[in-house]
Amino acid sequence: MLDGRFYILISRKLSSEATDAELNELNASLDADPEKRKFLEFLLRPKEDNVAMNTKAAQAFALQQLKIHLHNEAHSGKKDSTDINPSNRGRGNNLRKTWLSIIVVVAFSLSAYFFRGYLFPLKLGEEVATLKGVKSKLQLPDGTTVWVNSDSKIRYANDFGKARRDVWLEGEAYFDVKHDSKHPFVVHTAKMDITDLGTVFNIKCYPDDSTTEATLIRGKIDVSLLTRKGEHITLSPNEKLSIYLERGQMKSRITKLNELISKPGNNMPDSEALLIPETAWVNNKMIFDDNTFEDIAKTLERRFDIDVEFQQSDLKGYHFTGTFEDEDLKQILNILKVTKPFDYELNGKTLIIKE
């Protein structure tokens, strides 16, 4: 059987154009060559249902409905054969109701558009998203606990737990993974995939940060970098992997966490695990360890749901060290002001840092 013929048969099968004779011919050739059967099975694999796409479609529909109703409003009163409700006159009330519900749907859709995917903290079946200023603690179906920081999105697979446990993350989350060697737990982020091997770890991958970080507290994780095929890095406890861009090249660096906090031997007890800068957020603390004002500003943005602007860019380079827990934004800024000269102005949701 020539290969060309094989593809024609598949083509006809896929488009439902194949005759019975042709289907028999195809089956015969699949029986004769298992690689051909493999190929066909690849093609026919069902695709994952896309929850996000349906939401998008629903929003698009709501906007389109508004267009139609605006069109009708413009032509109302005229006897128009293209009117949605031909016998409209007795239905003033219904039209108003529909109109109001359209407004509500559109307002919802528009606000969702402005938040650009940062929907209200809700569970869309398998997805959770947090707004700025909001944190969330989840339990996954397998008993794994995940703390999700502000301004983040986490989604787990439809078939989570069947053969594997897959999770997609944008933002920051702290994972305490339920040990299960039969079902690999994998966190997918934009720049790297992290395979858990029975662990507690923190991942930070905000899209507007230049660095992606994975910090291992306990256990072992395997990280594969998406831009370097086949390259795997295994982290040991108390190690932090940072991925960053330098002169157009993706670089990686492993740092040992603050040795003062970790104990000899590999396992950090949980209470101490949450005292380091990388994971302090889980207990609502912010620990700055010689961080730049620029980085601190990003953390403040997410924590307090504000936008920070620096009037003079050299202010971005100030370094600060300190721990904050219950202080509000003004208190934090006043404390920072003590150590470095700057002034600030807070207008609603905008914070301006100036000299």
């Binding site: 593809y7 083509s11 690849f42 694999r45 695709k47 054969s81 997918h188 370097r228």
Partner: protein
Amino acid sequence: MQHFDDIEKIQYAIAYNRDEEAYRSLFISMYKSAIHFASIITKNEEAAEELYADTMIKIWYMGDKLVEIKNLKTFIFVVLRNASLNHLKKEKKSSYISIDDIEINNIEEKSVDEFAYYQLEQLLENAVNTLPVKCLMVYKLIKNDGFSYKQTAEILSLSVNTIEGHMQNALQKIAAYLERAGMINKKR
């Protein structure tokens, strides 16, 4: 052929009963395929969304004439194709543009994860993305959107034989790609 009798019921409901629920379900069920299709032509997803919305508005305003359409899904794609090509004409300020003129972007290959499940999805996506434009469009319309040869031919303004040729070509290229990736072996 996916759910064609359902589509007919929806068609009647929209045309005669002005059923908004039916219309909504039609809009949502075709959304993904339509946007992907229009995006290949316009290269711009926002434009594709607007074009699809306008196309669906036309469908609504056809009123009871809608029942005269033999194949609603194909019809929607044809209208969308024309709208997309017109959009391109306006963008490029040229008087004549056909499907032949569409170039495909160089789609970067995404790297593939070691685990089997993820790898297959990504590989298949990569393979499909390397196809030449017409092959890509034919493959998607037939495999993903469930159109027949005839319907695909109508949507792309090509002959049925050409369609089969493109499909054969697409499958051959995909198989070659999977072979190079080590997922299947060719018998000698």
